[in-house]
Amino acid sequence: MKVGVYFCNCGSNVSDKIDAETVKVCTLQKDKSVHFKTIDFMCSEEGKQVFENDLRDNNINRVVNAACSPREHEGTFMQAMSRAGLNPYLMQMVNIREQVAWVTEDREKATQKASRYINAALNRVALHTPLHKKEIDISTDVLVIGAGPAGLKTALTIAEAGRKVVLVEKLPVIGGMPVRFEELFPKMECGPCLLEPLMADVLHGKFAENIELLTLTEVIGIVGSYGNFSVKLRIRPRYVDPHKCVGCAECIAPCPESAKNEFNCNLNERKAVDFPFAGALPNSVFIDDQVCLRWKNQDCHICKDACPVEDAFIYDEKERIVERNVGAILIAIGSQLYDCTLIPNLGYGKLQDVLTSEEFERIVAANGPTSGQLITSTRAVPESIAIIHCVGSLDKDHCEYCSGVCCQEAFKFNQLLEHKFPGKKVHHFYKELSVPGKEEFELYRKAQRNPESKFIRYKEISDLSIASQDGQKSISYSDADSKKGTIFADMVVLCPAIIPGKDSKVLSKLLEVGLDKFGFFEELHGRTDSTQSKMKGIYIAGTCQSPMEIQKAMNQGMAVAGYMLSGLVQGRKLEISPVTASVIDERCSGCKTCVLVCPYKAISFDGVKGKSHVNDILCHGCGTCVAACPSGAIIGNHFTNEQIMAEIEEILI
């Protein structure tokens, strides 16, 4: 074994505080066969070249680099070693700049400490073994779960890059929530208009052939890991071929059966064969087999008879289970609103005309239950409307966080009322106001300028009490200054917090992607990596990750597309770091402690062999399992017990 110790002066950063000659003497005292060389700036192009050449010229096969922090240039020197034909893991860095030269006042002590560190590294590097990156074949196709703004954006971006996307949507309609909103903040653009170009591209655009859109579809199973997932999908029957249906709606009127329309918050009814709402895409009706007479043993075929297209209806369509192989997955399943019945003093669910923001959105939408007419449950035109902000938000008994979008939605309502239904009195009850961003303040200012607007600040949601009185809603309140009052309104709109969707838990369990304390999908890092989950190859975007508005959801969708395109490249294999854990079968007692402690579910238990197994694609190399294993059966590559103990042995001398 020929060890080279390379001592970087880092200009005078190191040499000012550490005497290389003394260090050399100490090093040679420990091992006189060591090749010791000082380099001025080892990370410079010239320095790297000197290093590389020196490795070759002296047949070095183990390296100790005494330089800056390994967090700074470990990668740089590993690459140089590879170029010199040496396995890059046969190197140990010694941090003599950040952790010795720059922090030790006394030159003699700094020199001693540097020598000690180098000797410890010599001990350690002697035990290093060559490690090799593994390469695995991958599928470059991706799965997108949820066809809302984030999912659509990712799907289209990936498709435009010429790559295949499986886009699944649980509902018969794509576009997520915003397509149901008449206007969107902050620019009062129409929701469907904003999203239709994107949806049209996904459905019929130049790259649509790269997207396999599956509506009424859910993920029910998954095996594999990053690069090679095999997912099982359940496709519920639509009973209508969306490629043949021309969306003429001829079948709808004659249909004899109806049910509450969940796409309009159950505020009106739809037929057994119907669109979710006018303008819904894909432009195809669907049959609700819970309502249709054919599933009640009646031979009704009125819809098929009314249909001008041959074979558009497929009455005998069955549920299908299909499998798809993909390299990466995006979860973009959206969210829901906080259940307002949990705050009984607001009267939601008991009093007529106390609505959620979502219900109000549908009422003022041209394709909604009232065709955009602003009317109460008694079909009267409301003259006064109260909007309650922060419903369930910033409240330790409900949701502790601020969703950050409800204020803008409330001011959007104000603007919409002022424009479309002028003269309506609008009361805003709020706890806090949140309108960040360069465009977002405008709607608040407009609401302030609206002569019909009034603002009342309250402290706790329990300070409000809504009741029915003389055909109106009375809102009794105690404001932030504890001043009591009562106002009357014909309609009350509650702006509840955004909370995780109903399917988050199930999908979290199925895909083994963690949820945060609120139940949103947990990101790898809140600031720098909000679209990666902690499960490699599974990404998260949109409101299933955190409450957010469309701009951020779209951005996250784009970010995910970036990760997918750069991580999975056609013709390139997936590189797996060798710094992972591995189980020595003979020592494993099968206690499964490692399975419990692994934060990445990278360890599975082979019931037949009675041994644990580490999936090195999922392993992040933290070494928690290595320390936890009571049998010493797990090796932490590059951080083995022996290597670390060898380092400890010298570091104290």
């Binding site: 390994p70 952790q99 720059w102 922090v103 320390a627 017990n641």
Partner: protein, 152 residues
């Protein structure tokens, strides 16, 4: 000689003059090691008595590393982790905290007082906190005196 026998020697040697404590610090790569680097870039000095061993995660710190450090003659051991909730590997620091409690119980049986084995949290930005902890650790071990535990 076993650890428990040698610890007797350690107790007798408390108060030796010119005593320079020897401390092993296990620092996780992502937070506390970066915090120590931060102290470096800020050029904030601290006593040179701590020998740093870098591990990827504080959850990697094995009980035997700590015992080995004491057996090699360390007067103190410090494990530095990411702050609760900030672990790069989600929860390795919680494992480290659990293991630290176990280590303390074991050290007690060996006659090594728990002040000699500390666990603390330093983020990548907390260079000053690293310096404060390192300095304080060196001073507190200096007061405790040498452990004289080295097994030959």
């Amino acid at each position: 000689m076993s650890l428990s026998e040698t610890s007797e020697v350690g107790i007798r040697n408390v108060g030796a003059s010119n005593f320079e404590p020897r401390i092993v610090g296990f620092l996780c790569n992502w937070c506390s090691y970066a915090g120590a680097d931060k102290a470096g870039t800020a050029q904030t000095p601290y006593p040179p008595n701590i020998g740093v061993v870098r591990v990827m995660c504080s959850g990697r710190v094995d009980l035997q590393f700590v015992l080995s450090a004491f057996a090699q003659g360390a007067d103190g051991v410090i494990i530095l982790a990411c702050h609760p909730g900030d672990c790069h590997y989600k929860e390795g620091n919680y494992r480290a905290a659990q293991r630290h409690r176990l280590i303390l119980r074991l050290l007690k049986q060996l006659g090594i007082p728990e002040e000699r084995c500390r666990l603390d949290y330093v983020s990548a930005g907390e260079g000053d906190k690293f310096v404060a902890i390192a300095t304080e650790m060196v001073e507190s071990i200096r007061k405790l005196g040498p452990l004289n535990n080295k097994i030959h």
